[in-house]
Amino acid sequence: MTTTTARLTASFDDAPLTLVRRRWPLGLALLLLVAFVALPLLGDDYWLNAILIPFLVLSLAGLGLNLLTGYTGQTSVGAAGFMAVGAFATYGLLLRVPGIPLPLALVGGGLIAAFLGMLFGIPSARIKGFYLMVTTLAAQFFIEWVFAKFPWFYNYASSGTISAPRLELFGYSLASPVGRYLLTLSCVVLLTWVAVNLVRSQTGRNWMAIRDMDTAAAVIGIPVDRYKRLAFAVSSFYLGIAGALWAFAYLGTASAGSFDINRSFQILFIIIIGGMGSIAGNFVGAAFISLMPIFLNHAGQWLFGGNVDAGQLQNLQKILFGTLIIVFLIKEPEGLVRLVGNLRDRLRTWPLRF
């Protein structure tokens, strides 16, 4: 009896260790080194402005939505709405609170978005699936309307837009492309690290239990409603910060229209194509979504020698995206990240398979 108990305790003592024990791969360190040092040195303004910054921000937004949809199983089509909240709230804080440092304003914007997200997440206690989608659609349209309608939010600007306020940290200006890139990168790295640990922790495992079967989760004692609301709040926090970065680090000038329903769909596509319930998937998906149009553009120029209609290219892009989404749902529901993983496994055992 005692030995059994002892063995049990021993194995339970081991369990958390195996969860925490991770390889700290050289690859990650190298990747961070390249991202923080090499890219700002080597990349020109076009690369930083038009490719890297939007890629990073979209990854962050995908991460936020993935926490809610991929990990907790609550479908949302209002992601852009919460991005708008983050952007406008950060703007408001920087404008109206004298001397507030940029990181604090970002966090404040995120927290306000989180609060709103939780508010719109309350119905998730009673409804799910398509019905919940209506709540998130309501959030999307309502938020868009509020930010377009009430001039207080955009400081009575006649254009109805908000533009990048003082982007500075400890007296250093971050207004240059490199500065904005580093700001975005720092936010993304920090929040990704938090997210990795969050989904590994009790919270994350509760979320996944709810996603897989909420009744079972309730039976084993997880407070389902509370964790759903928490998922809405955390997801909106991420989306809020992504929204603020989208507005100030990427666009420079934003309005309520920058966060319309199409942006929400774009972020939903990132997580479908990249991989639901995967952290790395957001980056793969965002890279795909932001590089695809550029690639198509160049391919079009190259194939048709410059006389290709931009509208037609956009239509082609739409058809391609739609097809890809369906193909992924049919062939690989776990997304690009799974394909990459399969490829890696294949290479590792090459040329002989098990």
Binding site: T75, P123, R126, I127, G129, F130, Y131, M133, V134, T135, L137, A138, F141, F142, E144, W145, K149, F150, M213, T215, A216, I261, F265, L268, I272, G311, Q312, N315, L316, Q317, K318, I319, F321, G322, T323, L324, I325, I326, L329, I330, P333
Partner: protein, 293 residues
């Protein structure tokens, strides 16, 4: 009082248009459990096809027939390439597939037939009609009549034909329907084709009202609250839900709108749907779903 009546009737008539869109959803949802986000794109595609044919000098009836043919071929393709490989997958997966589908259809429609706004003249003159002192749009009245005829035809199809009975069997219990030899794939093809036809009618009426253009595909988003209010599985519910949403939207814009800045139509329907969700989660006429573990 007159103003109230005018707003109410205008809203109700606009609501019939919402109903038309929602009916297409209900048909597909009942038969295959798919929330078809591509319904709006189908609407756009059919209206664009019709207008393009009509502009080429094809007579009205022939253009209508050809468009119907296109929609049927489309339904066959969708069933074959999208639905069949995804059979037995979760509803959200299927919904996302139709989201992809809507992108494909929109891209095709605009790629093949152009993105500019096309005028569509159905030969209905929009002369306002006066009943007492209340002004009613004649066009809306005719649109409502068309909707009524369509619903009657659908009711006939569902209740009086062999196909209709098979459709109802599939909607009622898919497994039982399969076991007595109903060909599920064929049923899906038929349902998507019928939904395409409903989309065509809705597309023509909406198109005649506001021009055939990309924004047509966005009416799909208005159908969601209509379905929540009416229930996902009831055609009657779709009609009543559409009327409620249309009327409430118009009244709210007229009476609540001025108080809080106006332009509230984009989101009012959703809040109405939320209120309904709290009171009657299954909708007014929907099946009360039983949650199985």
């Amino acid at each position: 009082m007159n103003f109230f009546l005018e707003t109410l009737i205008g809203g109700l008539l606009a609501g019939t248009m919402y109903s038309l869109v929602a009916i297409g959803f209900v048909l597909i949802y009942k038969a295959s459990g798919v929330f078809n986000f591509a319904q709006g794109a189908m609407l756009l595609f059919s209206a664009l096809t019709f207008v393009s044919l009509h502009e080429q000098g094809v007579p009205f009836a022939l253009a209508l027939l050809l468009t119907l043919l296109v929609m049927i071929i489309g339904a066959l393709l969708i069933e074959r390439l999208v639905l069949r490989p995804l059979v037995n997958r979760s509803q959200i997966t299927l919904f996302m597939a139709t989201l992809g589908l809507s992108f494909i259809i929109e891209g095709l429609a605009q790629g093949l037939m152009g993105a500019q706004v096309r005028a569509l003249d159905l030969g209905i003159e929009d002369i306002p009609l006066f009943v007492g002192e209340v002004m009613i749009s004649q066009f809306d009245l005719i649109a409502a009549a068309v909707a009524a005829v369509l619903v009657a035809l659908l009711a006939l199809l569902f209740n009086r034909t062999r196909i209709g009975i098979a459709l109802r069997a599939v909607a009622d219990d898919t497994r039982a329907a399969l076991s007595i030899g109903i060909n599920l794939n064929r049923i899906w093809q038929i349902v998507w084709a019928v939904a395409g036809m409903v989309g065509l009618v809705a597309g023509l009426l909406w198109g005649a009202r506001q021009g055939v253009q990309f924004s047509l595909s966005l009416v799909v988003l208005k159908a969601l609250p209509v379905l929540i209010i009416g229930g996902f599985t009831s055609i009657g519910g779709a009609i009543v839900g559409g009327l409620i949403v249309g009327a409430a939207e118009n009244l709210a814009e007229a009476y609540i709108g001025p108080l809080i800045g106006g332009g509230i139509t984009p989101w009012f329907a959703y809040f109405l749907a939320l209120v309904f969700l709290y009171i009657r989660p299954a909708g007014l006429f929907g099946d009360r779903a039983i949650e199985r573990v």
